[in-house]
Each structure stands twice: as C-alpha cells, then as structure tokens.
C-alpha cells in the first residue's frame, strides 16, 4: 500500500466524521446539549432512507429531499418534547434523557426492522472511481468518498454562513452568548433552539445516509458513530465548527495510516489518539476562540 494514498483517503474519510460530528458540535456550542442519541439519529437517517427508497422505488439520492425535512422535523419535535425540558432539569438531566433516547431508538429499530446489517445502494456512484497520479503513486479515489467530503465541506460552510451572516445566525449567537439577556431583548429562545436541534438532526441523518452507502449499518451502529463524532469534536476543540472538520480529518488520517500497519488496529488507534489528546491537550487543537464561532 502507499502512504500518499492513505493520506488522501484519510482526508476524504475525515469528511464523513466531520459531517457526523458537526451536529453534535452545534448543539453543544449553542445550547450546551450533549446529545448521546446523535449517532442513533444518524442511523435512523440511514434506515429512513432505506425504507423510503424501497417504498417509493427511488434511488437513494432522490429520497434526500424527503429525508432531510423529516429529520429536521424530528429534531424540532425532540427539542420541544425532550431536550428543552431536559436542559431545564439540571446538569444531569440532558445526559440521562438523551441516553434513554438512545436506548429507545436502538431497540425500536431492532423491534421494527430487525438487527440484520443493511446497506444503502448508491447505484453507479458506489463503484465509480477516479485514478489520480500524485507523488509518483497511483491512487484510486471513489466518487462516493469525494461526494461525501464535498458534502461535508458544503454543510460546514453553509452552517458557518448561516451563523455568521444571517439574522437567524445573529439570534443564535446572541442566545448562545447569554440566554437571559437574549430573552430580555425579545429573542424567543424555544424556536431558536428547536431550529438548531432540527439542523443538527438533519446533518446527522445526512451523515447516516453516507454511512449507509459506504458501509453496512445495523441498529447498534449509533454507539460507535456517536463515539467517533464525539472524538472529532473533542480533538478539534469543543464548540468550534472548523475545529470539528480538522478533528474529523485527523481521525480519518489516523485510521487510514493505522490501516497501513494492520487493519485490526484502526478503531483502537483512533480511541488511543483521543485519550492522548484528552491527557495532553484537553482543549483540542483548534478550540473556539470565542463562543460565537460555535
């Protein structure tokens, strides 16, 4: 195997981690919610796509205009029903409630759709690749991975613009900076937070769709997805979207480089890197300089 190829693949795979992580980073940065069910919601997105594409007979890509609004609505509903209450219920409540939600989602999926591993049919995109020659070595890149990476960039860029440039973003930043003052000047906090939760779940569902197209998934895949997403957030620096991208890319790189040595050690290498970062540089590599960078 070649090292240049591993680096390029690592960066592309890292895009997926960033996509899976950005919703987690967003809800924590803005409303201090660590959603333990984030990975399970991503897996729900994959299942929703699977069910819709087989029910409507549509290719996976064409179901996205349905899947993403549904995921957004689920996020809004979860905030109005659970997260909002949990955030008012003291420091332990959000952790306990979202953990309970995670257990419920996993087992509802098992009960409704069985525990068999599934995957999403990406059609022609799945097998198509492009051969690139770089530094004297030939690398084969899958279009699916490239599409995943570009989607992650687009989502992160879009979120950045939304938060930095729009009036909604200003409301979000104000609320995130100082909840009480924002309320005092007339911000209606509940709809703002509910929208953020909706966006977070929609990005999770999108990550789930890419997960389903590049690998198999089962109802228990949410746990590992959450852990990877969380590691990307912590390695990148809590509450910083661009840090999350770099954290995701770091994970992708470590994983691909460890695979050069022995495929068995890829996941372990990522977890050990996470612990090393936590011990040596707990603020992450690219911490948010200001809370508004969210």
């Amino acid at each position: 195997m070649n090292w240049v190829g591993a680096v390029v693949q690592g960066v592309l795979v890292g895009g997926w981690y960033a996509l899976a992580a950005c919703g987690l980073s967003l809800t924590f940065g803005i409303m201090r919610l660590v959603n333990i069910a984030h990975g399970d919601l991503a897996v729900c997105g994959a299942y929703l796509t699977l069910v819709l594409s087989s029910a409507l007979g549509l290719p996976v890509g064409y179901t996205l205009p349905l899947v993403l609004p549904i995921a957004f609505a689920i996020g809004v509903a979860l905030h109005l029903l659970l997260f909002g209450r949990a955030l008012r219920g003291g420091p332990l409540a959000p952790v306990l409630v979202t953990f309970g939600l995670s257990v419920m989602i996993e087992n509802l999926l098992v009960a409704g759709l069985s525990a068999d591993p599934r995957s999403l049919d990406a059609g022609r995109l799945a097998l198509a690749g492009v051969r690139v020659t770089a530094f004297g070595s030939v690398i084969t890149l899958s279009w699916l991975r490239i599409a995943g990476f570009l989607t992650a960039l687009a989502v992160l860029g879009g979120l950045h613009l939304l938060l930095a440039r729009t009036s909604f973003g200003r409301l979000v930043r104000a609320t995130s900076d100082d909840l009480d003052t924002a309320r005092l000047v007339g911000v209606r906090v509940r709809p703002v937070f509910a929208t953020v939760a909706g966006i977070a779940v929609a990005t999770a569902a999108l990550a789930g769709v890419f997960l389903g197209m590049t690998a198999t998934f089962d109802p228990y895949a949410g746990g590992l997805s959450l852990i990877f997403a969380f590691e990307a957030v912590v390695i990148g620096g809590l509450g910083s979207l661009w840090g999350t991208l770099l954290g995701g890319v770091t994970i992708g790189l470590v994983q691909q480089l460890a695979a050069q040595w022995d495929v068995q050690y890829t996941v372990l290498a990522v977890h050990l890197l996470f612990f090393a970062v936590l011990a040596v540089r707990p603020q992450g590599f690219f911490p948010a300089s200001e809370p508004e960078a969210a």
Binding site: F28, L33, V34, N35, I36, L82, R85, A86, G89, G90, P91, L92, A93, P94, V95, L96, V97, T98, F99, G100, L101, S102, V103, M104, E106, N107, L108, V110, A111, G223, L224, L226, I227, F230, E231, V234, L238, Q264, Y265, V267, L268, H271, L272, F274, F275, L278, A279, P282
Partner: protein, 345 residues
C-alpha cells in the same frame, strides 16, 4: 457546615425565634440500621438453609445493588454520569483471570482484581475528568471500548471468544457457589455501607457541593478535582470487585458482553428510577430492575425500549425517583445523609 458532623442532635444556638437543633440521626434510622444488620445476617445464612436455587438469583441481585450504589456514588453525589463503568467490570474480571492463571486462589484474588480496577482508574481519571457532563460520559465509554478492543485483539487474553476462570476445579460445586454468594453479598454490603459512610462524611458534603455547583464549591474551598477523582476511583474499585464476582459466578467471560454498554444502561436505569442521590434509591432501583428483568426480558427489544422510556420519564417528571417521590413528602429517611433542622422550643 460545622454542626452535626458527628451524629445525634446538636443544639446549634439561639436565633431570634428560639432555639433550634440540627439532627442527622433518627429513631427510624436506628431501626433501619438494626433491620439491615438482621437482614444481612439472614441473607448470609441462605447457603445453609435455602440452597443453590436461591443463591443464583440473589447473586445477580446483590451485584445489581452494588453496581447501582457505586454508580450513584458518582452520579448522585459527585455529579459524574459515566457510561463506561463496564470498563472496570471487565478490568475486574480479566484481572481475576490473570491472577487465577498465575495460580492464585480465585476467591482469594477477588480483592486483588478490585484493586487492579481501582489502580487502572487513577491514571484514566486524569484524562476523563478534564471533561464533565455528557462529554465525561462519552469519554468513559471510549475507555470501555479501548479495553474491549485490546482484549479482543490479545490472543493471550482469550481474544473474542473469551476465557474460563481457571483454578476452580478443586472446589466442590456447592462450596464454590456458596463462596460466590458470600462474596456477592459482601461486595453489595460494602458498596452500600461504604457509600453511606462516605455520604455522611466530609467527603459527602464536598461531593454534593461539587454536584450542585462546581464553581461555587471551589470558591468555598472544596477541592473539586480531588473530590471527583475519589468518587471515580472508589466507584471503579467497587465495580472491579463486582466484575470479579460476576466472573466467579458464571465462570466465563467474553469481551463483547462484559464491556457492553448495556451495563451502563442498567446502572443508569436503577439509579434514576430508584432515586438518585439517596442511599435507599439505588437499592430500590436494583429491586425494580431485577423484577423487570425476570418478568420482561423475554420481550427482548421492547423491554429495553420500556427501560429507556421509563428512564426519560422519571428524569423529566419525577427526578427524585421512586424513593424520593415516596419518602421526601413524608419525611422518611432510612439511611439519613442530610441534616435536619428543627425547633426545640
């Protein structure tokens, strides 16, 4: 904070309204303590008069009581919700395997296995305690995943297929089960009594202060980091003992199950449903969980959906849990840990 660290009633002075007293103990508490001693003595005799059919379910129940109390030591007192205590469950089990493989008697090695889990938790605590809340929870989960993968990839530790406990063939089956039973009872009693003693000590006061508001606690002179570290490491030590006892009970352990997050689901459920931050709550929660497990585990995923839903509902709508909702309005306290102020005039 100075009054009533001992016990009994302390007459704390004359306020304008009259005299008042701070009490920590009560007649109910004396009765409960005496009743507990009698109950433990009766349970200790079970191998003599009830036999193995009663021992097996009770070992499971004792382990649940211990796990719930130890999780509550972190979550209920120090404000640390860990989803990774299964790391120490497995560490205890595999430390017992290592000790028994070296020729030590497995039952004598259970304290060693617990100590191994406790020792492991100390360096880990320096990494995971940098985080709090949900981040702490997921970081501890990552530790459990690291141990699971490490054991799975190590052929000398049995790999994915797991290991059997060596050194038990010399024991008569009846004696082996009785010894396991007594160890389970001892671990449960020590966990509950230990958490009770800790909660009533200066540490308990510090831990609850850290739980309520870490910044305010620090400004009042509480060593926040040290308090959390003690809670985390002591909980790991006890959980390691439970892991060793469970291994001695089943004689077989496998990384996929012992390091599974379902143990954390159980711990959270027991503590939340019973009553977080009390001594009685986790015991009650363990009884409820045990009963549900016996009655409903045949329903597979639906049973776990119910556990998750119950955990959410209790957290949101009855955060004091079953025990807190029953006892607090009536002023019941079997194992009092707080201070009670009453007028004496």
């Amino acid at each position: 904070m100075t009054a009533g660290t001992g016990g009994g009633a302390v007459t704390a002075g004359t306020a304008a309204e009259g005299r008042f007293a701070v009490r920590r103990w009560s007649r109910t508490a004396s009765v409960a303590a005496a009743g507990s001693v009698v109950a433990v003595a009766a349970l200790a005799g079970v191998p003599y008069y009830a036999g193995t059919s009663a021992e097996q379910p009770l070992v499971t129940l004792f382990c649940l009581v211990a796990l719930a109390s130890l999780w509550n030591l972190m979550a209920g007192f120090a404000g640390l919700t860990s989803f990774g205590q299964q790391a120490y469950l497995g560490a205890g089990a595999y430390a017992l395997y290592a000790a028994a493989s070296m020729g030590l008697d497995p039952f004598a090695a259970i304290p060693l296995a617990a100590a191994a889990a406790g020792v492991l938790s100390l360096p880990v605590s320096f990494a995971v305690l940098r985080l709090s809340g949900g981040h702490f929870a997921v970081a501890t989960w990552v530790l459990a995943e690291i141990l699971r993968l490490a054991v799975t990839l190590a052929p000398s530790a049995g790999g994915n297929t797991g290991v059997s406990l060596p050194g038990v063939s010399g024991y008569d089956a009846l004696l082996r089960q009785a010894l396991t039973y007594w160890w389970a009872l001892a671990v449960a009693v020590c966990s509950v009594a230990g958490v009770y003693a800790l909660a009533r000590s200066r540490f308990g006061l510090d831990a609850r202060a850290v739980h309520s508001d870490p910044v305010a606690a620090a400004s009042a002179g509480v060593a926040v980091g040290r308090t959390r570290r003690w809670a985390y490491c002591l909980s790991a030590f006890g959980t390691g003992a439970v892991g060793a006892v469970l291994f001695a009970n089943t004689l077989y352990t496998q990384p996929g199950s012992v390091f599974g997050v379902q143990h954390s689901v159980a711990m959270m459920f027991m503590v939340v449903i019973g009553g977080i931050g009390t001594i009685e709550g986790p015991i009650l929660g363990a009884l409820v969980f045990f009963a549900l497990q016996q009655a409903l585990s045949g329903y597979g995923p639906w049973y776990l959906v119910l556990l998750g839903a119950a955990g959410i509902a209790i957290t949101l709508f009855a955060p004091r849990g079953l025990w807190g909702s029953l006892a607090a309005p009536r002023g019941w306290s079997l194992f009092p840990i707080g201070h009670h102020i009453s007028g004496t005039s």
